[in-house]
């Protein structure tokens, strides 16, 4: 009988101890994290962002971007709703002070150029003396190429027309067809 009594007391003590421990553990926890949301009524009473509150050093650098975008009408939520988004006044852009480039010379704008910036007609690296305008016989061949006709043939060029000067001497028989 006494053994049963002691066993009962021990089990009860364990249960009470466990419950107490659980209580201590859970009360130590912070409340479950949830969305950072403030009551809408409260938000309406708080001051909105003012332009003067922006970081003017960077705003000045690109002032146009600091204009708070005007949100469009909310779109319909697809699928199951997942709660409401946090809606409060749009904050000013938080811009970091990166890449200030202290000590670097800033090239300032000159006057409008009076002469155009010339770009070579063969800017795409193609010798327009040869082939169609869709084709590109290279002006310069990869290093080590000694036989240009063999290179062109290996790269799928067939009966390439000479439409200008035979600058690359690919048409020794002067029939206006290169490498034939």
């Amino acid at each position: 009988m006494s053994r049963l009594r002691y066993t009962g007391i021990a089990v009860a003590a364990l249960a009470l101890g466990g419950a107490a421990a659980w209580t201590v553990v859970t009360t130590h926890d912070a409340p479950a994290p949830s969305f950072v949301t403030a009551p809408a009524a409260e938000q309406g009473a708080l001051p909105a962002a003012t332009p003067s509150g922006r970081r003017s050093d960077h705003t000045d650098r690109a002032g146009h971007r600091a204009v708070a975008p005007v949100p469009a009408a909310p779109a319909t939520s697809p699928g199951t709703a997942a709660g409401r988004p946090r809606t409060h006044g749009t904050p000013a852009p938080f811009v970091q002070t990166f890449a200030a480039q202290p000590g670097r010379a800033r090239i300032k704008p000159g006057k409008s150029p009076k002469t155009p910036v010339r770009v070579a007609p063969m800017v795409d690296g193609c010798d327009r003396n040869y082939g169609t305008k869709a084709q590109c016989v290279p002006i310069n061949y990869p290093k080590g190429v000694t036989d240009r006709c063999a290179w062109l043939t290996a790269h799928g060029f067939t009966r390439v027309a000479v439409v200008g000067k035979d600058r690359q001497h690919l048409d020794p028989d002067h029939d206006k067809i290169a490498c034939d």
């Binding site: 009594r5 950072v36 050093d57 699928g79 988004p85 409060h88 811009v95 990166f98 800017v123 990869p142």
Partner: protein, 694 residues
């Protein structure tokens, strides 16, 4: 005979109560797994030092605004809290930050995530939670801004989960910043390790588990897909114009098509002009601004080169039609197109109507839906070359990466920072082989908040050397950013399986930001419109390493090729226009390894699709989530898509409901439609939902 202490009935009742107590104890919910020790020193700000400031905390911030710090007795708990007041408008911000020392800064483990929380009250919307990290190689550096906090008159708890701690980080500090006029009071900071165990990765797909897999579609493109723009409805606008086909140009046969990835079908689009060689970018409403194009091909006698159109059009995905807008101020053949933080577009470089270089800065006002006049836009009269890669920085300036199309780079260092508002250009050092960056590719690495750019490969169609394998990396967070050498592109094979030499790399590079935060690099060639390179790799921005040996596209992808991300997480590749004048119309689609590594998480609900800057949105998911981000849809041609970006969305986790915190800075996420992905703890991304930012 003695009387028993308890009767049989009493003993039965005790036994029943005991069993009930045990059942209740065992059945009670366990404390949350993430409830680790609070890693913040003096979290309640109760211990003060000899100056009366909380131990382990410091006054931090910069700028000209008036401000004050005060330890207040109006606490959330205990007797002390920290009040920071910005009293007058000016520059800068203020914050109480954890001390950046070995004693007070919480220790962290790379790859882990932490829930950061604090109780706060603030009178201004200009309040943001910011984190710095201690890099063992660099010291203390800015890490990221986590979330803007809503104004709150009563004590409110803000909780945000960090991204995974980057490699080489041993400590972080964080705090709440006020950057507008108002008062911020904080108390009871807490930081807990919230790392979720990665599930076992079972993959039965063989090589695809690690290399991914390509599939060549059983159909071909209906147009020469020289320009590709992913639309807000998930379709892809493919633009050929004359498609580098002079016969079509002569016949005024100009083509575009809409590719529907879901069905593999194409819809023909009437194309008003030769939009071959144009620039393009999505406007904030999802329509596509197309600028310039091809006015003429070069003359055989060398009397003129390519000529650029001044025409500009807006393509509307709702009607699949182009509508003309006013002309640009100059002809634009190979112009850049960068979306700005206010929704406007800046276009630089290209060739004019007379084949000369266009020196005008051309500015499209989104509000006015027109190109500004020459004198309405700020001018530097600088020639930026062809398709210059101009990437929007977090402060609204443009970074010219040095990546361009055709020939040499620009004079000087070959890279620079352009300030449109101030009309200044400042050189940036460190780009190697700046005259061999022709059709290299530059990308703003994930996440955009980290402000790092990688420039990969390149060649020179004019001098025609072997394309190289150099990559250069720049951290635009540095005071004086400069390129530093990155890891070389892995070597591939040439036609016939010949391995590349140790020095050979590639031009015509395609680089695609993936939803898992990696960069897939594919395609390319060794010489001017010749010698495709079969090589693909996966770049990890966190580790700054390439994983070589990814599956290679069976279709050569050199000149006039592009690759881009689809909303389902796959990569599509189009185009190949070798020097012999042919054009490969095949379409390839790459499934990255993550698509073989387990079930995809699903976004089962979303709070809305209209997202304001600095807001917190929420989604519900059906699986544990590691991260979430917005990826801007591609608008790519000639290895150039300077608008490609991956914007991290720090999480606030409440079971399967996830708060997504969007940056307040439009320069990090210019207004427009984005693909929202969540990535499961198994590393597998969801299919994207479309949301509109701004």
């Amino acid at each position: 005979m003695t009387r028993p202490v308890m009767s049989r009935r009493d003993r039965l009742r005790i036994a029943q109560l005991t069993v009930l107590a045990l059942v209740l104890f065992l059945g009670l919910p366990q404390p949350p797994a993430g409830a680790s020790a609070n890693l913040v020193g003096n979290p309640g700000l109760e211990s003060l030092d000899s100056t009366g400031f909380p131990v382990c905390w410091e006054k931090s911030g910069w700028g000209s605004s008036g401000y004050s710090f005060a330890v207040t007795s109006t606490a959330h708990s205990g007797t002390k809290a920290m009040a920071v007041t910005v009293s007058s408008a000016g520059t800068g911000d203020r914050k109480a930050m954890m001390l950046e020392d070995t004693s007070c800064a919480p220790n962290v483990t790379p790859g882990h995530q932490y829930d950061l929380s604090a109780w706060y009250r603030t009178t201004t919307t200009n309040t943001v939670m910011t984190a710095f990290r201690h890099d063992v190689g660099q010291g203390w550096v800015y890490w990221t801004d986590l979330a803007n906090l809503a104004p709150a008159g009563d004590w409110t708890q803000a909780t945000v989960r960090t991204p995974q701690v980057p490699p080489h980080t041993d400590q972080i500090v964080w705090g709440i910043t006020i950057y507008g006029v108002g008062t911020l009071t904080t108390d009871d900071y807490e930081m807990n390790d919230a790392t979720q165990p990665a599930p076992e990765r079972a993959c039965s797909a063989g090589a695809a588990c690690t290399k991914g897999a390509w599939a060549v579609m059983p159909f071909t493109s209906t147009v020469r897909a020289i320009h590709a723009v992913v639309l807000k409805n998930g379709d892809v606008l493919l633009v050929a114009g004359s498609g580098n086909n002079p016969d079509d140009f002569a016949a005024k046969t100009f083509k575009s098509a809409i590719y529907h990835p879901g069905t593999g079908m194409f819809t023909t689009v009437a194309t008003p002009e030769d939009l071959f060689c144009s620039g393009h970018v999505q406007l904030p409403d999802g329509r596509v601004l197309v600028m310039g194009g091809n006015k003429d091909y070069p003359a055989a006698d060398g009397s003129h080169g390519y000529k650029g159109l001044k025409n500009s059009y807006v393509f509307d995905p709702a009607t699949n039609a182009y509508t003309r807008v006013n002309d640009m101020t100059a002809g634009s053949w190979y112009p850049s197109a960068t979306a700005m933080g206010n929704g406007d577009v800046i276009s630089l470089g290209g060739l004019g109507e007379d084949s000369n270089g266009t020196v005008a800065t051309q500015y499209f006002s989104n509000a006015q839906q027109r190109w500004l006049g020459l004198n309405e836009a700020h001018q530097t009269w600088n020639f930026w070359g062809l398709y210059p890669s101009m990437i929007l920085m977090q402060d609204g300036r443009l970074f010219y990466t040095g990546s361009h199309v055709f020939g040499n780079g620009l004079p000087g260092t070959g890279a620079s920072i352009y300030d449109y508002t101030a009309s200044t250009i400042t050189a940036v050092d460190g780009l190697r082989k700046k005259d061999e960056r022709d059709q290299s590719m530059s990308v703003l690495l994930p996440p955009a908040q980290d402000q790092k750019v990688l420039t990969m490969g390149g060649g020179n169609i004019e001098t025609n050397p072997d394309a190289h394998r150099l990559t250069d990396l720049i951290d635009l967070k540095q005071a004086n950013p400069a390129y530093t050498a990155g890891p070389p592109l892995p070597g591939g094979t040439l036609t016939g399986g010949t391995p590349q030499t140790a020095a050979q790399g590639k031009m015509y590079v395609s680089a695609v930001l993936l939803p898992d935060g990696k960069v897939f690099e594919t395609g390319g060639g060794l010489h001017n419109r010749a010698d495709p390179v079969y090589e693909a790799s996966m770049y990890d921005p966190a580790a700054n390493t390439f994983t070589p040996g990814m599956a290679t596209d069976p279709v050569p992808r050199t000149y006039h090729s592009s690759a881009f991300l689809l909303p389902d997480g796959r990569v599509m590749a189009v185009g190949e226009n070798p020097g012999n004048g042919t054009f490969d119309m095949r379409v390839s689609v790459y499934s990255p390894p993550y698509l073989f590594r387990g079930a995809r998480p699903h976004i089962t609900g979303i709070s809305g699709t209209q997202w304001a800057y600095g807001s917190q949105q929420s989604v519900t998911v059906d699986a544990p989530v590691l991260k979430a981000e917005l990826i801007r849809p591609a608008a790519v041609t000639h290895s150039s898509d300077p608008n490609q970006r991956f914007v991290d969305l720090p999480l606030t986790v409440d079971g399967t409901t996830i708060g997504l915190n969007l940056t307040s800075n439009p320069n990090l996420a210019p207004p427009g439609w984005y693909m929202l992905f969540v990535v499961g703890t198994n590393g597998v991304p969801s299919v994207a939902k479309w949301v509109h930012v701004g």
